[in-house]
Subunit: 455 residues, 2 copies
């Protein structure tokens, strides 16, 4: 993992020192000697990480950080604040300004490499997600990416230590600052517990467990599907340099040396939670966008495109595996005249209500889609004609029995639907034929009086 | 980076050896002693990597590999074949069976850790993409993920060595096997060249460059936007253990020891290209899916949802930055009667042709969308009313002048469109008002005879 790093400090010697250390590790370093120069460089070149001194004449580090984090063009670049050891207020101010991590002067080599490598790895993942979530347009030269605002407050934390006493003051500190913390003493239980979906946002592991190898525990947490992206903070002693390096190689995100400064603890926990929330948000935006490609916006059912993508394939699989498959096409009787009489808003309301009804009356693995206008298609795997007709008839009865409240006079409208049903057979051997057969049946139901099912 | 590894070998001692080495590095190892057991375990648990012996009684390693790679449930799991040193044909057969990488018996510790770590890292990225590209449904319990078929043939390769002689026979080997290879001797030129978009699928770097630090070169290739995901293969000597480890830490993907076996070279190049193509394909599937969420399927223009997402924001930005912004709403005159007369197919054809015309007549940063039916909306940043009217009038004239060929009698249909135009002003200060104003203008154009623009 390598990266382009912008090092910002008004003291030339400090820049040179960081530059030498990072270059020796094959990082690509660009120096900047004041805040304005840093901001200018950020708009001209692309960087992976910013190392930022707090105290600078002119625009100080906190202000640079604030500007980086409030600009959509730079928000995604991790910022590491470099602060004096005893300056707790700078760290808190840095976090409030949006900083992602902290280094203490004089900068320890291990700490430097750790933070930088870790943020590089996380940025690579975030870049990948960002590219996908970027639904921006470049209209009039304006970039349209969204700012993501997350903090690291009120987190849900799991602390693992086989001595409750050792972790007690830590837990109290975190609770006092608004976090919810669970303490576990049995590593075996932790593993079985964490393999289930959970709401933890950070896990703190004591490196010195009596009866369990803490690194193996970290490794297991990292490999479990449910906790792959869960930040791990290790509590270690000053002399634990070697296991710390191994831990970081395993994907542990951060470490705190015991005895620890309480503010250091709070700041590290907060920044790990914040980073996790940032990535989670990116991830869920991508997921939402992808859902939109396959869902009908009005009803939340699948759209026609999705049905067309899957119909032939599912039909082919059903035939190959000698399984049953049925299809229902339904539409709302006289919908056009309802639309003309009561207006589009009422028409839309009815479509939505009918969509809900369809969803409630099918199984989880049935595939319901709004095919267009007031027409819906439902694909029922493992279902023969008799059962499909039963499902269709049940829907018909429910619609006919429960008028819809439209919040205008007249308050309720009685609706009916017609339904056409088809199933795989020696005559019907493709998705296309299923659709045609059901469509013909629907036409028959309509022609012979509506409020009917036909097969 | 840690991982769950399935180790498959019928010789218990071999399994134990690999297990011991991997467990020492905190990998999570599950053993299997024959092909069937491996296949059963793969369906019960989830694994990150499979280490697979070729020679086994019953279902041999090649067959296990083939089945893993042809099953959508397991295709994404990297397979490392473990082969005898001199068995070239096993390796080729392995690649043909879909193997991702190779290890030679007796397994070297560095080689083992390298391959496993590398594949773990790649799998983490692929998993993230796979989750997004997974537009599958779970209908009837059938998983519907697509199989991705890529090979590593006919690649485009860049080889970097400051002595052309040294790389000559390598280049010839690769060319003889259908790859296209460019040889570069000047690392500085390579960097400036690779920072541009390029079609390389793998780069081979000679560790022993005379006048340049090859590791720094690798690091730069890894940090360049355009080559972030480009596989790097290092050519090193047996005594280069330390720089090889550094290189792998920097993100170099693979290495070959010189003097190298020609088949080893071919197999490594092929498998790196194959892995890149797999990831690229996943990535482009996600991108396509996301595009679908914002594009109108019929015309390829943006859809209504996208316009609605961006209209207010772009309007607000234009006002804040004191810039002009205009909007055109247009629809096809008498479209419904065309649809009724010639049928839906002709109607759809006309919509598509009109969409193309709109696209051709706007600038890259204008925002055109199909708003619904035969109605289109175009947002023109940095454009005043006079220019917007000019754009609208030009479209009107083109449509009126060129009838559309519909491939049925009558062969061509003459069309006209009407257009309403609005622009930001002291009266019009929001996206909503822009739309209303343009809609009123369109209504005026229709009412006063159609085939007109109005503002």
């Amino acid at each position: 993992m390598t990266a382009r790093i912008l090092v910002v400090d008004d003291v030339v010697a400090n820049v040179k020192l960081l530059e030498a250390r990072l270059t020796a590790e094959y990082f690509d370093v660009t120096p900047a000697y004041n805040g304005q120069e840093a901001l200018d460089l950020l708009l001209q070149q692309s960087f992976d990480i910013i190392l930022l001194d707090v105290m600078m004449p002119g625009i100080d580090g906190l202000e640079v950080c604030r500007r980086v984090k409030s600009d959509v063009r730079t928000q995604h670049i991790p910022v590491v604040m470099v602060t004096a050891l005893d300056n707790v207020s700078d760290r808190i101010a840095g976090l409030n300004a949006g900083a992602d991590d902290f280094l203490t002067k004089p900068v320890d080599k291990l700490a430097l490499t750790t933070r930088v490598r870790n943020l590089t790895r996380l940025k690579a993942l975030n870049d990948e997600l960002r590219l996908r979530s970027n639904t921006s347009i470049n209209a009039g030269g304006e970039n349209d990416t969204k700012l993501i605002n997350v903090n690291g407050d009120n987190g849900h934390i799991l602390a693992i230590s086989d001595s409750v006493n050792a972790i007690d003051s830590l837990a109290r500190q975190l609770t006092d600052h608004g976090h919810k913390i669970d303490v576990e003493t049995d590593p075996e239980y932790v593993i079985s517990h964490l393999s289930q979906p959970n709401t933890y946002e950070t896990v703190i592991v004591n490196l010195h467990l009596e009866n369990f190898d803490a690194l193996r525990l970290c490794s297991q947490i990292r490999t479990l599907e449910a906790t792959r992206n869960l930040p791990i903070i290790l509590i270690a002693q000053k002399e634990d340099k070697k296991p710390i390096i191994t831990a970081l190689e395993l994907g542990v995100n951060d470490y705190i040396l015991d005895p620890f400064d309480h503010n250091e603890l709070l700041v590290r926990v907060r920044s790990n939670i914040q980073r996790k929330r940032y990535t989670d948000q990116l991830r869920s935006e991508v997921t939402e966008t992808i859902e939109m490609a396959y869902k009908d916006a009005m009803t939340g059912l699948y759209n026609r495109r999705f049905m067309e993508m899957h119909l032939e394939k599912l039909t082919k699989e059903a035939i190959e595996n000698d399984k049953k498959l049925s299809l229902i096409i339904t539409d709302i009787d006289y919908f056009k005249s309802i639309n003309d009489t009561y207006g589009h808003d009422v028409g839309d309301l009815i479509i939505r209500e009918f969509g809900k009804l369809v969803e409630k009356n099918i199984r989880e693995f049935d595939l319901a889609c709004r095919f267009g206008g007031e027409e819906f298609v439902i694909l029922l795997p493992d279902t023969d004609l008799r059962v499909a007709c039963y499902v269709a008839e049940r829907m018909r009865q429910i619609v006919a029995a429960f008028p819809i409240n439209i919040n205008q006079k007249p308050h309720i409208i009685g609706l009916t639907i017609s339904l056409g049903i088809s199933t795989l057979s020696s005559d019907v051997k493709s998705g296309d034929e299923l659709m045609k057969k059901a469509d013909n049946a629907l036409y028959k139901a309509k022609r012979t009086g509506r409020n009917k099912i036909a097969a």
